[in-house]
Amino acid sequence: MNRRSTFGYHGVPRWVYAVAAVGGMLVVLPLVAMVAKVNWPQFIPLITSEPSLAALGLSLRTSAASTLLCVVLGVPLALVLARGEFPGQRLLRAFVLLPLVLPPVVGGIALLYTFGRQGLLGKSLEVAGIQIAFSTTAVILAQTFVALPFLVVSLEGALRSAGNRYEAVAATLGARPTTVLRRVTLPLVLPGLASGAVLSFARSLGEFGATLTFAGSLEGVTRTLPLEIYLQRETDPDAAVALSLVLVAVAVAVVGLSYGRRRGSAASGGQA
């Protein structure tokens, strides 16, 4: 969709370009600096060392699991926030969005006092023989905690802009609410759901503070790629830079995927 006016005039003052350039440089320059620091001859050995591969594998597995968890829990949350009507709805929305603005380390401490040995639920779980803190499960929970708002926000927006007229028609055609959800609502908001899931995956992949606090840093169990990078920085800066570049590559791919999707859906979304 071309929203530019038919005339060439855009009304942006020139000095805005200058400030925007500074803003762009703030993001691009550090990346350039990092790429310049990469030890290219050793790049492949550095990122394929055993601890690196273990950390990368763990990161991908836990991020995939937490993205799945975000979808399973986030879709119902977004639905009740966008479509439901109940007392405390605004309060629930505020709390769901809280992890967006909360320092992750605070989230980690909160999780520790929920699922830790002495925690709210942790005590009962301990009795049942289940230990969550400092396990791979803890990594997934920490990632889900920080990534869930991304999925909820993105899907709730999609649900609101889609409106509920299709659902009303589907109901008068005899479809039960569950059928309407499965065959009408979810297909309609699929682009929003997909970009929400991609953002959640990216956030999970980058999770550091909550993971370190709640899950610790055990190689192969809870030491994800960001934790590995932080540790390597002390002992082997070259490895840290190389692994950072891997994360940058993944992030670029994720942003490209989600951005491309949105543009694609905008182009085909002309149906009234």
């Binding site: 009303a168 109901a171 008068t172 055609l173 005899g174 479809a175 309609l188 149906q271």
Partner: protein, 356 residues
């Protein structure tokens, strides 16, 4: 009676009761905001009234009276809704859109598609089966939407201005399709168009401000309107007042002489209306000598082209708006402009007078 409804919704100033016989199609006419869409919302279960009840044959749709709180969800009502916009599910092709109702009712994929093909053929849309909604024109999409609504086998079909969003070339085809499929089917069609009412409905109900103001067989209502809205649709001037031997007398004392129904015996004081076409009204400047009957001073409010005539809209002392159709030449000769005081003279032979 096979469908009965009585409902009121205070927040929308809505209070109506109506019933439909088997196989009957009723047109709901009325100005914007009169409560037409509210009515369909209440019937289909998308909108909950404060009180009232409705049933189709033995099936109670809702009953909110006498302390009972029976409320059937929309999907259990069998009242498919066809809106102004087709609202085809954009991710399904035409065939699967039509198959949606049968699938929801539990039919297998194959059986549902067979049903869908039958209904697509019924609305002359078989060649469109594999197209996505984004590849359909407005008229094609609306025909597919009709097939989709019918495939759900509704006991009562609700149509909310189905032709309103179509261009003038697409509307006639859809109207013909609707005429065919609505035959012997219980349906309520909300419309703005007299043609829809004439072609599709057995009976019309005129609503204004959330109330039913007039109802009856289509021809009766449109040829002998009793409400201003129906008169407007029928293109007639309507004046309300009290019946007299001569015609009717308006509340401010003007006398409209006209033709009573043959065999009418006057009962003084009875409320009545006088209806006459704008073509029976002539326009004069200044006083008319000999003071003919049916001559009224009015002020012109609007002039607009109407076919090959000029329609002169004017308001009289009683604020009852009247229209006259005159030739463009006459309008130019008289130098008519809005705000001008003129005199309307109505041929009494063309004024129909009947009880309200």
């Amino acid at each position: 009676m096979s469908f009965e409804l009585q409902a009121s919704l205070h927040a929308r100033n809505f209070d109506m009761s109506l019933s439909l016989a088997d196989g009957e199609t009723v047109a709901i006419l009325g100005p914007n905001g009169a409560g037409k869409s509210t009515l369909l919302g209440v019937i289909s279960g998308l909108l909950r009234p404060d009180s009232g009840s409705a049933r189709i044959a033995d099936k109670q749709l809702f009953n909110l009276d006498d302390g009972t709180r029976l409320w059937k969800a929309p999907h259990l009502r069998g009242t498919a809704l066809l809106a102004q916009e087709a609202l085809l599910f954009p991710h399904l092709n035409a065939l699967d859109n039509v198959a949606f109702g049968p699938r929801s009712a539990g039919a297998s994929k194959v059986a549902a598609r067979e049903t869908a093909q039958h209904w697509l053929a019924e609305v002359d849309a078989m060649p469109l089966a594999n197209r996505k909604p984004s590849q359909l024109s407005g008229g094609q999409a609306q025909r597919v939407a009709v097939a989709r609504a019918l495939a759900a086998e509704p006991e009562l079909l609700l149509l909310d201005e189905p032709m309103a969003a179509l261009d003038i070339h697409a509307a006639p085809l859809l109207r013909r399709v609707l005429k065919r499929v609505l035959k012997d089917r219980k349906a309520i069609i909300v419309t703005h168009d007299v043609l829809d009412a004439y072609m599709l409905a057995d009976r019309v109900i005129v609503v204004e401000k959330g109330r039913i103001v007039e109802e009856g067989p289509t021809r009766d209502v449109l040829e002998r309107p009793r409400s201003h809205f129906a008169a407007g649709l029928a293109g007639l001037n309507l004046v309300t007042g009290t019946l007299t031997e001569e015609g009717i007398t308006t509340p401010d004392g003007r006398v409209f002489a006209g033709q009573h129904d043959s065999g009418w015996s006057p009962s003084p004081g009875q409320a009545g209306v006088a209806a006459f076409p704008p073509s029976s009204v002539s326009v004069f400047l200044g006083d008319v000598h000999g003071s003919p009957r049916n001559s009224f001073p009015v002020t012109i409010t609007d002039l607009e082209p109407h076919g090959d005539q000029i329609r002169v809209r004017a308001a009289g002392g009683s604020a009852q708006a009247l229209s006259a159709d005159i030739t463009p030449a006459a309008s130019a000769d008289l130098g008519l402009v809005p705000g001008m005081d003129v005199r309307f003279v109505v041929k009494s032979a063309l004024v129909a007078v009947y009880p309200a």
